[in-house]
Symmetry: C2
Subunit: 227 residues, 2 copies
Amino acid sequence: MIRNPGVLSEKLGLSFNDPELFKIALTHRSAGVNNNERLEFLGDSILGYVIAQQLYGRFPAASEGSLSRLRASLVNETSLAGLARKHKLGDYLLLGQGEMKSGGYDRDSILSDALEAIMGAIFKDQGIAACQHWIEWLFEDKLHDLPLDSDGQKDPKTRLQELMQAKRLDLPEYILLSMGGSAHEQTFTVQCAVQLIADTTTGVGISRKKAEQQAAEQMLELLAQAA
Amino acid sequence: MIRNPGVLSEKLGLSFNDPELFKIALTHRSAGVNNNERLEFLGDSILGYVIAQQLYGRFPAASEGSLSRLRASLVNETSLAGLARKHKLGDYLLLGQGEMKSGGYDRDSILSDALEAIMGAIFKDQGIAACQHWIEWLFEDKLHDLPLDSDGQKDPKTRLQELMQAKRLDLPEYILLSMGGSAHEQTFTVQCAVQLIADTTTGVGISRKKAEQQAAEQMLELLAQAA
């Protein structure tokens, strides 16, 4: 059963002046001539531009090589298919009989293309600013979790681990001290300990990972002061 | 001798709020740490987006494959280096001693990267609309002269000619009615006549070719109305 595209667009925070564009974005070439291939071409280029701009701004000290690697880690078929699955795009795809039977609604390439086609549809319907805004919303977590900090350095956990490995010491230990808040606003508190010094550091964040990064960062600062 | 970047930016119709950005765009990595690599990363992505958008709009019937091929024919190192040479970018590049001696100012990769870096600099200095406008100016002739594609919409002159051939009539006639304006802002007016109807159409453009295309387009519309 094909679900109503209007439900999906609402879930995605989208409101189309021309809902037909959104429907085309969800139409795989197996379902007809008026499919999402052209919109995908357009969306793919916009996505490349928006992510490049975001990375350029977020990592002012990163080299061109780092920026390219970061973009490749964000914009690839697997990553896009993951985002599409998160928003259950597969339930709303229009596929031909053959693709439907062979599980096309869960194929990485089809999901990824449809997601890019949605970007093209937003651009056609509402222009570049709206499209950029939506892409930034879609990639918010991924952009936030990138393994580099604002100086173009590796993230604190990685740097702390490498520091310990270089000194042939045990790897840092992270202990979850507490978890609180409501389901949508959880707070994690994590303690970091290393073999090098007795002091520990504490990090707080909206995810365990973020709390660990903060604890690692503070440990790096502590070690820098102690050195 | 390195020439004043201000002269080049003026020739390119550019006026930077921050002229330093333009200088960085012309600085190859061999000349120092503060070079054009990051701006090139940014410019490359904007160029891809702007050209994709142009092709999408200009070829409403072209398949995704055709659009991709057309873009690849416009955006590649050789094509960009050609545009850079046309505007004598090489004379203004900042290169290290080694690159200077080995002719880096005329190397395709260096010219192409610098051109993309200029796009990145315009974007940083003036935003996406100004950058898009400049890219469209830079690529105007190339976009206009695009090789015809079997899936894409052919240009009006070709379509009109094919229409006449299909009807076994004489080929359309184009007559230059007038030419005016100063050397840099010439205007051509061309009349188009076909054997099929007595009415003629008139096109105006900044080149004879463009005026002919416009006249052909209007003739096609006239014929469609008459049909």
